[in-house]
Symmetry: C2
Amino acid sequence: MGRTQTKDKFKEFMLDKGLKSTRQREVILDEFLRVGSHISTEELYLRLRRKTPQIGYATVHRTLKLFAECGIAEQRHFGDGQARYEASDLDEHHDHLICVTCGKIVEFEDPRIERLQEEVARQHGFSIERHRLELYGCCESCR
Amino acid sequence: MGRTQTKDKFKEFMLDKGLKSTRQREVILDEFLRVGSHISTEELYLRLRRKTPQIGYATVHRTLKLFAECGIAEQRHFGDGQARYEASDLDEHHDHLICVTCGKIVEFEDPRIERLQEEVARQHGFSIERHRLELYGCCESCR
DNA sequence: ATTAACTTGAAATCCGTTTTCATTTGGATG
DNA sequence: CATCCAAATGAAAACGGATTTCAAGTTAAT
């Protein structure tokens, strides 16, 4: 999903919910899309403050939650106690490889694993809504 | 790993580290093993307080961390913001199915998935240290 | 322009986790 | 057994990220 589409989707969402479009929301969405992925509220807030010093942490926090509600972002937790957000691609799911040394995060996707997950769930009488697969290890350059 | 072995392992750990065996640690380990798995500090604390009212939350917290350090327990996060601990079986790894409706947690294991994870990691130049696979969905009885 | 509803940002609050510190206890030693 | 010191305890405080409060500001419909 390109930036324009994402922005359109958010506009539609705001209209739908009777939310107002504000300068802050625009700036936050822009920066969020520019940065890409796996950013924490704190990080995004600090970045924004460079260019837009008067912006408040609470607003960044609330806006990221809005993004998630709207479906253009997803909240993630990688075990460091901070929530992180990533732009969602909607049509394509992916999992993560996380380097425990340098913190690098790589995305991957494997349909074979997904299929096996479905199978396992079925065997236990579950229907999967979502899943989380994270591989923690050491990346090439850290070895 | 049976209870006796687990207790022995903890005793050895304490000896090794010069830690003292106390009434509290015994009581906490007993209750932890009795309950089994996926218990939060808060839950364990409340349970213990019924039989041992003078026990402190901090002690439960610290003791659970000790268990994890010793290797007889593992800390987990299932996204409800609370850390949970489970007795570790050492020789066998497992993943989790979590019912988003009733909160039931089922353990499973699938060597085929594990193998594919290794393969994916290798493709990206990673060596896996540990992983986390959680399937969130709806269990049979909740449907 | 007026107005009602929504938004903002600073500060306060929440809530699980972790630490502090005065006191108690374990267990090694004489 | 008495003594001693390091470790452990528990109540309370501190911590840290997430969330809420509230007075002031903004949006956009009329």
